[in-house]
């Protein structure tokens, strides 16, 4: 882990002796009655309720409760899936790539971003499952030996998806957990109540902070970071294959993998900002998750926004350049056809608005950050909508063109998914340290021997 860097502003503001750090971070877990927490939980639980109802309706009646129809066989569920997977990218990215890039400021937000990843990916995983016609046969998607001698079709991008997303989930979870072990141990030694102690003991695996362990631990962490970096890039590439490998005009595009990854980071960071802005207030950790983090993330937001914008332009160019009638039609139809409104919402939210971050003032203003992060996620949702629906609703055969309109159950499931996501996240903030204690202590002032410096890895 890197120690030596000259920072314009401290990573941790205010009190920062090791003990205090522990106290501050452990506070949410030790303060039993906490009004903001219960309000937030109540809101997210209502969302969860909506989710449950929508799923029940879906199981009872079938996919037909949604607006999907024949040319547009994929509607909101897939849009939401890609949306959530996208959000699930920031976490691992921050903790892995920024880690490899020796960006110590990541320590303040890594843990939280990872947690977000975990819950976002779980939410995402629900959609492909629910959107199938017969979810109770989902196990057909796994290559397990069976008396029918039927395996799976490894040529299908959907199957790649099964592998990619589940791998991503497992590895992120591991990564997250490895990071948590020392903190669990700290909590174990802090807590007073018997139950908590039992649980923390269980999860801390009896970690002893022994330096002989730290040695392997750090290496393992480094290796994981190294593995996660290509993984996080691969996942959304493979998600993009769900579209790119098809032959549908508007989907069948080689630019999709990088374009999707950029988009994922874009939306992921946006979501991190949105949530952190709230959390740091609720849990009074402003001095740990500082404006420095915010500003840096704002920069990332703008950069990825520009990449996405570039992709939008390039799509059009390629369509024109390819000279394929259907391809050209799809893109012109996106911009001027029946779904033009969706397209322009996307452009404004994803390309125009983030430009505000050229100004330092904007980067440092919480309200602006909050608004932009939200518009960005709206925009990114519409990007997926535009890609999925507008490409399908008028593809090759003019005879079967049609229009797609969502139903209340589409909306219900989408709103509900937020409830699902936030319930998980809020419970996390209540029972686990939202910031990595060990990592944070490591970068506190005087946390490292004075005559030692530089990288030892």
């Amino acid at each position: 882990m890197s120690l030596d860097f000259s920072r314009p502003r401290p990573l941790i503001e205010g009190p920062h002796t090791l003990k205090e750090i522990d106290d501050v971070i452990a506070a949410p877990m030790e303060r039993p009655h906490h009004r903001e927490f219960f309000i937030a939980l109540a809101i997210s639980l209502t969302g969860l309720g909506i989710f449950v109802i929508s799923v029940a309706k879906l199981m009872a009646d079938g996919t037909g409760v949604w607006g999907n129809n024949n040319p547009v066989n994929w509607g909101w569920p897939i849009v939401n899936f890609v949306f959530w997977v996208g959000i699930g990218h920031a976490g691992t990215l921050i903790s892995a790539i920024l880690f490899l890039m020796r960006q110590p400021w990541r320590n303040g937000i890594a843990r939280f971003a990872e947690a977000m990843t975990i819950f976002a990916v779980i939410t995402a995983l629900l959609f492909p499952l629910l959107h199938t016609g017969r979810p109770w046969l989902a196990h057909y998607l796994l290559p397990y030996p069976n008396e029918r001698a039927l395996w799976v079709n490894f040529r299908s991008p959907l199957l790649w998806d099964v592998f990619a997303v589940s791998t991503y989930f497992t590895v992120s979870l591991t990564f997250w957990y490895v990071g948590l072990i020392p903190d669990f141990a700290s909590m174990r030694d802090r807590t007073t109540t018997r139950l908590k102690k039992f649980i923390y003991t269980l999860f801390s695996l009896g970690w002893r902070f022994s330096n002989r362990h730290w040695q392997h631990y750090e290496r393992a962490y480094l290796i994981l970071a190294g593995l996660c970096t290509p993984l996080v890039l691969s996942v959304h590439s493979i998600v993009s294959f769900d579209f790119a490998v098809s032959i549908i005009p508007g989907w069948h595009t080689t630019i999709f993998p990088p374009y999707f990854v950029a988009g994922a980071i874009f939306s992921g960071f946006a979501m991190v900002i949105t949530v952190l802005i709230v959390v740091r207030v609720i849990y009074k950790i402003e001095h740990i998750v500082t404006m420095l983090h915010m500003e840096r993330m704002a920069k990332v937001l703008m950069a990825t926004g520009l990449m996405v914008g570039y992709a939008y332009g390039m799509e059009f160019f390629i369509a024109w350049y390819s000279g394929v009638e259907a391809e050209q039609y799809v893109f012109i139809n996106r911009a001027f056809g029946p779904y033009a409104w969706a397209y322009w919402t996307m452009i404004i939210c994803n390309v125009i608005i983030p430009q505000i971050f050229w100004s330092k003032a904007a980067r440092n203003s919480i309200p602006i950050l909050f608004v932009v992060s939200i518009t960005t996620n709206i925009g990114m949702w519409f990007e997926r909508f535009v890609i999925t629906v507008t490409s399908l609703h008028r593809d090759y055969i003019p005879g079967s063109w049609a229009y797609f309109t969502p139903t209340i159950w589409d909306v219900g499931l989408y709103i509900g998914s937020f409830g699902f996501f936030f319930t998980g996240l809020i419970l996390f903030t209540r029972f686990m340290p939202v910031v990595s204690m060990a990592e944070l202590k490591a970068v506190a002032d005087g946390a490292q021997p004075s005559h030692h410096g530089g990288d030892h890895e």
Binding site: G62, T63, W74, E147, L158, D395, Y396, G399
Partner: protein
């Protein structure tokens, strides 16, 4: 999860051995673990065996839970297997239906004594193995859950009670005899009966009860046409045109390919003249019509003309032909010249803005092809028009096209006067008893007759019907009758051709001996006339009749029984007859021509009604397959509508789905607007047969009833002038399976250019005019070669198909877009009816569809149709994306679909460039109309060879794989390889014009291979390198050179 025992047949042993062993051993282990060792007293506190014992116990307990208790069903064999039935193999019976107008010979496929599919009788000289969509769908009518189970008597307060047949017979004889005694009338209202025995039975009834009369009527029958005929020609009967011999065909607002009694015959003959292998032999079809019809979209030249001006056009044509060009013997007839002098073609053309070039071309075509051309006048037009058309036909010597066989013509069907008389006598209380035999005048007859209130005056009203109808609802006695598949009978539509009808299943409701249940109407009448009920009374009667009248006509040496059986076997007998040569009489025409044709005023509206393509007069309203079969032109389902042109709509300030108020005289009706390209200005065209107020679960309150618009001046007059049309408040959504984007206004310019003619820009449709094609016959081959040069794949190795490889060829020159194939497919493949709401959401389940494309202008559109079904691509994009390998390729080149494996990701449907895959978004069996389709009787209609798909499963056309497999096993039985010619697919059988060819691509001599090598051959979107196996023949439009310049 219980599996059918034979489900994984190929793995049965394998599976049973291994899994069986496992179960056995494990269960024994439980036993030891539990019952031997488990004695808790004996056990010390610290004891592994106790632990194991309990472990075993719990495991055993869990095991109990896992065992499966579902009812596995029972096997019930025949206890005396009939000789002709082999279980699991179909039987075929030749019989006759009158579902479609007139009687049609059919071949019924039965499985274990249950009819499952209906096709044409291949031996029959007229239809040659084809039937219309309505006959194909009639199997659903047999299993219709709404059918009456027994006689019903309805009290005045509307309450009903079941009664026994004996009671019915008693009551009838009482009433009838009383009527006879009091000298009152008994009226039988019957449909057009073509059955000799039926007529004889009615005659017997009349003798038994003097003073009883028979009124025979057909709502779609136009007396005017027949009257016109008998005015122009002497002698009984009417000729049938042999279209195959005609080079020039002019259709005057008569949709002769789409409707009418001879449509099957015409479709076939038309197609034979449109054979891609004989392009020089193409005939030329001119169509002058009010609304865009099936015939209109097939036509080489099409002109729009409001229906009430057709007479003017025909007279003008007559003038041009006879007077100006002096064609025919009447050219020297002064009277005719006189009468025609003030009908000038040029004037007329300019007045109605018709393309004079086309008209002139048409006239000279007629002139140059005397004896090889014919005019068809709209059946339901005025008598005058028919007289005039008869005249022109005489002039151009179309009598040379009269085919050998001829139809009986109008066998005294009722005309308006007769109905008026009937109503009068009913009102005056002369009628004591009225029997409606499978007729529904309350719905059919124009309100002006006031039939309903007249009926109230009749003391006893009896209705014979299968499903409660408007008329039966107001009858005192409702007697359920057999479906034709349950009944005996005969018919005689073409002179010299006698069709036989035999039951293919015992009556579903009630056996002969029972007191409730159905009986066929002839049998009921026999019971009444004989005064007693006898089993087989009608059959004996039928046999006797045939022995007496028909058997002698073929003077053969064999016994009658043999003759009878062979006739049953063939389904018909043919007797050679000479066709009379009717003499023409011009006087009538002079009268018509002299009477100056009154042109409709400039801004008055004309209304053109016509029978529905699928429901005819509404008799099929309760048949979901037909209701959901899209309209051939507008693709509208589950509705009728007021079709108007775009300009007219603008003038009326209405948009699609707005309500339109149509007033003709004192009659008015409210209809939703549908903007139909190609409709004549100031013209509203509407289809009849919708808006049944009581037609069963499916058919009730579907669409709008426009019979109320009909007038009492003459039956079957569907053309109205001087109608007033205005916007009515409110809207009503008309749903169609295919919108016409091309002519939408709100499309931005940038997009409009690409949207219009998209099908041509994307090379989905290829068309050429005859002349260009003759100049350069290889035009398409060149283009295709260019296209095919660029398709490449990263996989070098290509899969080789040994033995048979299935493929299809569709000749777009022959396809008229009649939609019969779709019903054929529905019946064969158990395709559900989803209802209007689902179709609105683009969820119709038809495996096959006929895409209709407009190009050109909204006013004068050029229409192209294209049957689109699964193309069974070699490089099927749907297979690649299926994660569970539910759709894979079969060794004979089919794109197989394993329903049970499908989890429903729907990616395959997305990735299909032809969009031919269909997904069960809901459980349509349960979903549609309160599980109407899930009743045990309805499930009998399903093809036992095809899985009934459930919710969440993808499905699609598989070239009737069940038939292929059947043929395979047959070939195996006969110890030979399967041949391409062994299999025909359902749509192919259903296609009246044989436009669909199917067979083995690996066999160079097969028909499909021949089409594949044809110069007009192309496959849709080959540039995608999906390698489709359905070949289309580019359409050649046989336009006249003059007309184009």
């Amino acid at each position: 999860m219980a599996k059918e025992p034979n489900y994984w047949r190929s793995f049965e042993e394998l599976h049973r051995q291994s899994s069986g062993k496992v179960n056995e051993s494990s269960s024994r282990e439980f036993v030891e673990g539990t019952f031997d060792e488990l004695d808790l007293e004996k056990m010390t506190a610290v004891d592994r065996r106790k632990f194991l014992g309990l472990m075993g116990a719990s495991a055993a307990f869990a095991g109990v839970g896992c065992s499966d208790y579902r009812d596995q069903g029972v096997v019930i064999p025949y206890n005396k297997k009939p000789e002709e039935i082999v279980i699991g193999r179909p039987n075929y019976y030749a019989t006759t239906t009158d579902e479609s107008c007139g009687s049609t010979p059919v071949l019924v496929k039965t499985r274990e004594g249950r009819p499952v599919k209906i096709d044409g009788n291949p031996e029959h000289p007229v239809t040659q193995g084809k039937v219309g969509a309505d006959a194909q769908a009639s199997v659903l009518g047999l299993y219709d859950p709404d059918r009456l189970r027994g006689p019903i008597s309805r009290k005045d307060d509307g309450s009903v009670e079941n009664v026994s047949w004996t009671a019915v017979d008693k009551r009838l004889s009482a009433v009838a005899n009383a009527a006879v005694k009091r000298g009152k009338k008994i009226v039988l209202v019957v449909p057009p009966i073509t059955s000799p025995t039926g007529q004889e039975i009615l005659a017997k009834f009349k003798n038994k009860f003097p003073g009883s009369s028979v009124v025979k009527y057909d709502p779609l029958h136009s007396p005017a046409a027949y009257k016109a005929w008998s005015q122009s020609y002497r002698g009984k009967g009417r000729p049938v045109i042999n279209l195959e011999a005609a080079d020039i065909i002019v259709d005057i607002d008569s949709d002769f390919l789409g409707k009418g009694r001879n449509k099957l015959e015409f479709a076939r003959q038309m197609a034979n003249r449109r054979d891609s292998f004989n392009v020089s032999n193409f005939n030329r079809l001119y169509s002058i019509e009010s609304g865009l019809s099936l015939t209109g979209l097939t036509a080489d030249h099409r002109l729009r003309l409001r229906p009430d001006a057709t007479l003017g056009l025909v007279l003008a044509l007559a003038n041009e032909l006879v007077v100006k060009r002096g064609v025919g013997s009447f050219a020297r007839d002064e009277a005719i010249k006189q009468s025609l002098k003030n009908h000038d073609l040029k004037v007329f053309a300019s007045q109605y803005s018709l393309d004079l070039g086309v008209l002139n071309a048409m006239v000279s075509d007629l002139e140059n092809n005397r004896g090889k051309s014919v005019l068809f006048a709209g059946e339901h037009h005025s008598q005058e028009l028919h007289v005039a058309v008869n005249f022109i036909n005489e002039v151009i010597a179309s009598r040379n096209l009269w085919s050998k066989s001829y139809s009986l013509g109008d066998d005294n069907l009722a005309d308006s006067d007769e109905i008026v008389k009937l109503v009068g006598s009913m009102k005056s209380g002369e009628v004591d008893l009225i029997v409606h035999v499978d007729t529904n005048p309350i719905f059919h007859l124009p309100t002006d007759y006031d039939y309903a209130s007249a009926l109230k005056k009749v003391p006893t009203k009896i209705a014979l019907t299968m499903v409660e109808s408007e008329t039966s609802k107001v009858s005192d006695l409702v007697l359920p009758i057999h479906h034709y598949l349950e009944s005996w009978g005969d018919s005689h539509s073409r002179v010299g051709i006698y069709n036989l009808r035999q039951p293919v299943i015992r009556p579903l409701y009630g056996s002969r001996e029972q007191e409730e249940g159905t009986r066929q109407w002839e049998h009921i009448f026999l019971t009444w006339t004989d005064g007693k009920y006898e089993d087989d009374a009608y059959l004996t009667f039928l046999k006797a009749h045939w022995k007496k009248y028909i058997f002698p006509q073929i003077n053969s040496s064999q016994q009658f029984s043999m003759f009878w059986n062979s006739s049953l076997h063939d389904g018909m007998v043919q007797i050679q007859v000479r066709r009379p040569n009717w003499q023409f009489n011009p006087l009538a025409f002079v009268g018509v021509a002299a009477k100056k044709f009154v042109a409709p005023e400039e801004n008055s509206y004309a209304v053109r009604l016509s029978p529905s393509y699928h429901l005819a007069d509404g008799r099929h309203a309760n048949n979901g397959w037909l209701q959901e079969n899209p309209h051939p032109v507008s693709k509208v389902v589950w509705d009728n509508y007021a079709a108007i042109s775009k300009a007219t709509a603008a003038k009326l300030k209405v948009e699609a789905n707005d309500y339109l108020n149509i007033v003709v005289g004192n009659r008015k009706v409210k209809l939703p607007v549908f903007i139909q390209p190609g409709t004549a200005e100031n013209t509203v065209t509407v289809e009849l047969g919708y808006g049944r107020s009581s037609a069963g679960t499916v058919g009730t309150e579907i669409g709008h009833n426009v019979n109320t618009l009909l007038g009492s001046d003459e039956l079957g007059q569907f053309v109205f002038s001087n109608a007033s049309v205005s916007k009515h408040f409110g809207t009503y959504e008309v749903v169609s399976t295919q919108a016409h984007w091309a002519f939408e206004d709100d499309v931005p310019e940038l997009l409009k250019e690409m949207t219009t003619d998209a099908h041509i820009r994307r090379k989905v449709i290829f068309e050429k005019d005859m002349e260009d094609h003759k100049k350069n016959p290889k035009w398409l081959t060149k283009e295709m070669k260019k296209k095919r040069k660029y398709v490449k794949s990263i996989y070098v190795e290509e899969h080789k198909y040994k033995d048979v490889k299935w493929g299809m060829a569709i000749d777009l020159n022959q396809c008229s877009g009649c939609m019969d194939c779709i019903v054929a497919c529905n019946v064969e493949n158990n395709i559900p009816v989803v209802g209007k709401e689902q179709v609105k959401n683009n969820r119709e389940m038809h495996w096959m569809r006929i895409d209709r494309y407009y190009s050109g202008t909204a006013e004068e559109p050029v229409v192209s149709v294209q049957p689109m079904l699964c193309q069974q691509c070699d490089n099927a994009p749907c297979e690649n994306v299926c994660p569970v390998a539910a759709t894979v390729h079969t060794p004979d080149g089919l794109n197989g679909m394993a329903y049970n494996r499908c989890v429903g990701t729907r990616y395959c449907a997305n990735n299909c460039p032809y969009k031919v895959r269909r997904f069960n978004f809901l459980n349509y069996r349960r979903h549609f109309r309160d599980s109407h389709q899930e009743t045990p009787v309805a499930s009998l209609a399903h093809n036992p060879e095809v899985t009934v798909r459930s919710r969440g499963v993808m499905e699609k056309c598989t070239f009737c794989v069940q038939r292929i497999m059947d043929a395979r096993s047959q070939a195996k039985l006969e110890k030979r390889e399967i041949k391409g010619s062994d299999v025909t697919v359902a749509c192919q059988d259903g296609c009246p014009s044989n436009a669909i060819k199917f067979g083995d691509l690996n066999d160079p001599n097969s028909e499909v291979s021949r089409y594949r090598d044809h110069e007009l051959e192309y496959k849709v979107m080959e540039e995608l390198n999906v390698k489709p196996n359905v070949t289309y023949m580019a359409k050649i439009r046989n336009k006249n050179g003059e007309a184009r310049s």
